[in-house]
């Protein structure tokens, strides 16, 4: 069974997991991957996807009147001040 670096995946996914859960996942995820690996027996060749899925783009103009959602969006923010979303300082001064 494939060896999976759960800690690395959790870091890539920005997901804090406990040591206990990590142990469980180290068992579960390779099991699930072993199951999905049966697709390697299928004949499908890797090629650029074509077919039913395609995007229908709208005209590149104003999708809605500017500002009509602003109030609602601000209300949903965990940390809002004077109409701005307040975020953590990410540049250190030293």
């Amino acid at each position: 069974m494939i060896n999976v670096d759960i800690e690395k995946l959790a870091e890539l996914s920005r997901l804090a997991i406990s040591a206990e859960e990590k142990k469980e996942l180290e068992k579960e995820i390779p099991e699930i991957l072993a199951f999905v690996e049966q697709i390697s027996e299928a004949a499908g060749e890797l090629k650029k996807e074509t077919g039913e899925h395609y995007n229908i783009m709208r005209e590149d103009d104003e999708p809605h009147e500017s500002g009509i959602y602003t109030e609602e969006m601000l209300k949903a923010m965990p940390d809002e001040k004077n109409g701005y979303l307040r975020v953590r300082k990410i540049i250190a001064q030293d």
């Binding site: 995820i29 991957l33 499908g44 996807e49 039913e52």
Partner: protein, 472 residues
Amino acid sequence: MELQNLTIKEARALLDEKKVTAVELAAAYVERAKKKNGELNAYLEIFDDVNEQAQRADKIIADGGGSMLTGIPLAIKDNILIKGHIASGASKILENYVASYDAHVIEQLKNVGAVFLGRTNMDEFAMGSSTENSAFGPSKNPHDVTRIPGGSSGGSAAAVAGDLAIAGLGTDTGGSVRQPAALCGIVGFKPTYGAVSRYGAMALGSSLDQISPFTKTVEDAEFLFTTIRGIDSRDATALPDTYFSTTTSPKRIGVPKKFLTQGIDEDVLEVFNESLELMKKEGYEVVDIELPNMKYALAAYYIVMPAEASTNLARYDGVRYGVKEEGENLTDDYMQTRGKGFGAESRRRILIGAFVLSSGYADAYYRKATAVRELIRNDFREAFKDVDIIATPTSPTPAFKIGEKANDPLAMYTADIFTVPVNMAGVPAISVPMGTVKREDSALPIGMQFIAPHGADSSLFPIGKDFERIVV
């Protein structure tokens, strides 16, 4: 008033003949929902503005306007946005998130004065087949409350089956409407991918998701579908009307016999075969077909879906909305918010998604899975050259016990074996009640799944109606 098995059509007649007002109808459902919800946990919230909504519907009716859905009380899955109401996706991370806007389907329904009774329980962000992955406890199957209602849209299914709503909406990514419909003994219809705009539905697997109706009859499914479908510039995958074929009356049914041999309960297969015999007597032709790559569908799905889910769920980071957990620095804010906010199955699928997309593995997993998906699509395309409809059981088993598969993710995944290929191909399918099988002392509903070619959604209604008439 008598709510048992009340359909949209019957309620429409009562409203139009002034035998009941929308306000009275809504109040009767709210009363029943409040009484039964403690037992079923179908609703996460019963709305407090139901009466106002119903008043609006009565006004529309009094003014001589309205359509089939005016004043009809509906149950809405908790991942479909209704402005001003909480939409949590049954997740802790959005526990108190109030929707900033209406989903397209909600706009359509508001336009005609449909009434939203409440938001219904589901597996967190629609990942699961039982509602046991809800952060707010599982829903119960109205036919046996020790059993799951199916999932992920199990709350809406339980609400409709238990007469806590006339009809409802769910989302179907791999069977999340058809499977709970089958397990609760009602109709679940997944339209062609792109038939209904997903604007305002929380994205899970964007190449698979489709908003789908729950109803008590096939005819009702048609009414609800007609109201919510249609082109919308805010969903780039919404298909134009010209894509859809006009109604035909399918007569030739294909059955992938070989695919129906593994992992299916014997009595479910028996009822399925008996049902097909009845269809033959009704004048339908039933032939054996080959879908050679169907056996890979579930495996390919559990690569494509987590890949898309891990991408879609990246937006829940506690910065712009939702729950926020403070960490030591910005990265740690994300880690803590997401670590605490997401439940176990969401975390599992995020990690699997990250793995199958990661450098060095993407070719063997994600890209191979999309290639296999093409084979599956092609299998359907070939099969539909010969037959009008493909039939399978909706689910290989009836409703299982709460807790029975909760600790075995792989066992849970197999519940979707017959529904997943449909989403992989993007074709439409309907689940119609097919009778019951016995487990312990309970008679548990199972479903017949009819699958049609792309855009032939309306062909599913005549065959579905024939089926519900002959199978009692």
